[in-house]
């Protein structure tokens, strides 16, 4: 009951927010939040750490951008094309990666994503180092003009809610329970007769498709797609968002995405402020060296804060109200 009230408040808040905050920033946050939630479906609920999710995010972005800009496809079809592309990449990558376990799985996803990065660097349709510029937003179903930021915001919000609802539904479905069993104890899941590889692959493809949805939407929102989105640092970024928010919590990745995107945008201002306060000029370069700060957050999270913000809050809540615990 509580959870439903929480979601209702969040939706009302999200509907009102673009009147106070720059909508394009909000849309970017929503895309990354969906990306992180999709990633979390794999790490948090199946126990697979993928370090190659940039391939789905960026790959779908390129396909959506190309189909919309060059082939003149409408908005919805471009997004669908992006999702299909991400699902296919996910199918290939997943079926190779699940042949190994644990840390090898992670290294394989990272290596295959890097391979896609080189393909994007060399393929003619991606625009190489320049990227794909000037992707038009078009019209939703041929009627609603998306050039207006406010209109597009509500479309993106609807996409996000649909994607998030699908993830919540998956986690709580019988399928999600099997995934949890795989995460907790894989040999036992096998001995109970589950075809673990099939479940893992399905989860991988689902996660890839949702990451693709996020990536394709992001391309349309910002109107361009560059190599940044297929680079390994993007895979690292989504890991960080999920880790900060809380691995294996439903809302954690959203919180993490908001924090990290805000951090990226505001770090330059913060650095300037630090430089004025401490009069150490080096801080002025902080805006360009986001990686130092993200690296630092990574280290702190792994060493001292493994449950993430939402995870810690949940634990705190359980501790302070013993009556409702467990």
């Amino acid at each position: 009951m509580n959870r439903k009230v929480g979601y209702a408040i969040a939706i009302v808040g999200a509907l009102a927010l673009p009147f106070f905050v720059y909508p394009v920033f909000l849309m970017k946050v929503l895309c990354f939040a969906l990306f992180a939630c999709a990633f979390n479906l794999l790490i948090g609920f199946t126990g697979l750490l993928s370090f190659g999710h940039a391939a789905f995010f960026g790959g779908a972005g390129y396909v959506a951008g190309h189909t919309i800009k060059v082939m003149g496809w409408p908005f919805e079809l471009g997004i669908v094309a992006g999702i299909v592309a991400a699902a296919l990449i996910g199918l290939v990558m997943g079926s190779l990666a699940i042949r190994r376990q644990g840390i090898y799985f992670t290294m394989i996803t990272l290596a295959l994503a890097q391979m896609l990065f080189f393909v994007c660097l060399q393929a003619p349709f991606t625009g190489g180092e320049d990227g794909l510029q000037g992707v038009p937003r078009g019209k939703l179903l041929g009627v609603v003009d998306l050039a207006n930021d406010m209109t597009l915001y509500y479309v993106v919000l609807a996409i996000f809610i649909a994607g998030f609802a699908l993830i919540v539904r998956t986690v709580h479905s019988p399928f999600g329970q099997v995934l949890k069993a795989v995460k907790e104890n894989e040999p036992r899941a096998i001995s109970l007769g589950y075809d673990v590889d099939k479940y893992k692959l399905l989860a991988f493809v689902l996660s890839a498709s949702l990451a693709g949805l996020a990536g394709a939407t992001k391309t349309v929102v910002l109107g361009f797609e560059t190599l940044t989105d297929v680079h390994w640092s993007m895979s690292g970024l989504v890991v960080l968002m999920t880790l900060v928010g809380g691995l294996g919590t439903l809302t954690g990745p959203i919180v993490g995405a908001i924090l990290i995107i805000a951090l990226e945008n505001k770090l330059g201002d913060f650095g300037n402020w630090m430089a004025t306060v401490t009069s150490i000029e080096w801080f002025r370069t902080l805006g360009e060296s986001v990686t130092i700060v993200t690296g630092f957050i990574f280290i702190v999270c792994v060493l001292a804060f493994r449950r993430g913000i939402v995870g810690e809050l949940g634990a705190l809540f359980k501790r302070t109200s013993p009556g409702t615990a467990h």
Binding site: L96, Q101, G102, Q114, F118, Q122, T285, T291, V293, G295
Partner: protein, 294 residues
């Protein structure tokens, strides 16, 4: 003289270049394997520490006029000490947890090291000249052999085989192998396993730094040189499997050579060929060429 329509000279020089790259793959994957064996941590920071080795060589030359040969010894020692600091202050708290936390921690360390070097030196490469004794080339008649490249291959082979010898044939290596199999039992025999773990990590990253100093004159010294390499090395590790020291060395060198040949016959594929081989190996022999199926 021609072979497959390619002048033999070009073929041989690409083969040598492939061997040079292969030497770096071999040294880095060897270090990764040694660390993984005992610590159960995949050291993502390996690439960044390799970059640090190269930068130390460059800094030694530019700021203190310390020559290449001194830095070849000093660089790995300094990075080894830095590695020991990382292990003592951070990594050791993670051994009881899932492997993935070790990877995430070292990934964070990588970002910090790279970010720091980038904020001071930018992304463009710094030139580092070949030491005088090794500049120039041998003329072998059928090809020109640059002395420095020959030295890189030779030095890395010596280091790799020395490491193999120590681990497989000496008493110290026996402790190390026993520690990999069953650390508790080894500790019960009165061997200081935590110290061994610390020193192993220090040694592994020193190996990466050694490769970095070796690489400084052949590759432009830049903050990003490590992360570009480490992902290829991960693929090498997946192909070879981390169970065998000799396997790491052979796989590393072999893939370097294959990459070199690809550059001759189909240059567009040279950046991806290692990943393609990885995919094929996963299909045919999922445990890796030298790995054991658990």
């Amino acid at each position: 003289m021609e072979l497959f329509g390619i002048p033999l000279q070009a073929l041989l020089s690409q083969l040598l270049l492939g061997l040079v790259n292969g030497s770096f793959y071999a040294m880095l994957s060897l270090g990764l394997a040694v660390i993984f064996g005992l610590l159960n941590v995949i050291n993502f920071a390996h690439g960044a520490l390799y970059m640090m080795g190269a930068f130390l060589a460059w800094m030694g030359m530019n700021y203190f006029e310390i020559n290449y040969w001194v830095m070849l010894i000093l660089g790995p020692i300094l990075v080894g000490i830095f590695g020991i600091f990382i292990e003592k202050s951070m990594l050791r708290w993670l051994y009881k947890l899932d492997h993935l936390y070790g990877l995430l921690l070292t990934f964070g360390i990588t970002l910090m090291i790279e970010g720091l070097f980038r904020s001071f030196y930018g992304v463009s490469g710094q030139p580092y000249s070949v030491p005088e004794a090794l500049s120039g080339a041998f003329n072998l008649g059928f090809m020109i052999l640059p002395k420095y490249r020959a030295w890189v291959v030779l030095a890395s082979l010596i280091i790799c085989f020395a490491t193999w010898f120590v681990i497989e044939k000496t008493k110290l290596g026996a402790y190390l192998r026993a520690g990999t199999e069953n650390p508790k039992l080894v500790e019960a025999f009165g061997i200081n396993v935590p110290l061994m773990v610390t020193l192993t990590y220090g040694f592994g990253v020193a190996l990466a730094a050694f490769a970095g100093v070796l690489a400084a004159p052949v590759i432009q010294v830049s903050p990003l040189m490590g992360s570009n390499l480490i992902i290829v090395v991960f693929a090498v590790v997946v192909i070879g499997g981390m169970g065998s020291i000799m396997g790491s060395i052979i796989t590393g060198l072999g893939l370097g050579v294959i990459e070199g040949f690809t550059r001759v016959f189909y240059p567009q594929l040279s950046a991806t060929v290692v990943f393609i081989i990885m995919a094929i190996v996963l299909l045919i022999r999922p445990a890796g060429l030298f790995g054991k199926e658990k």
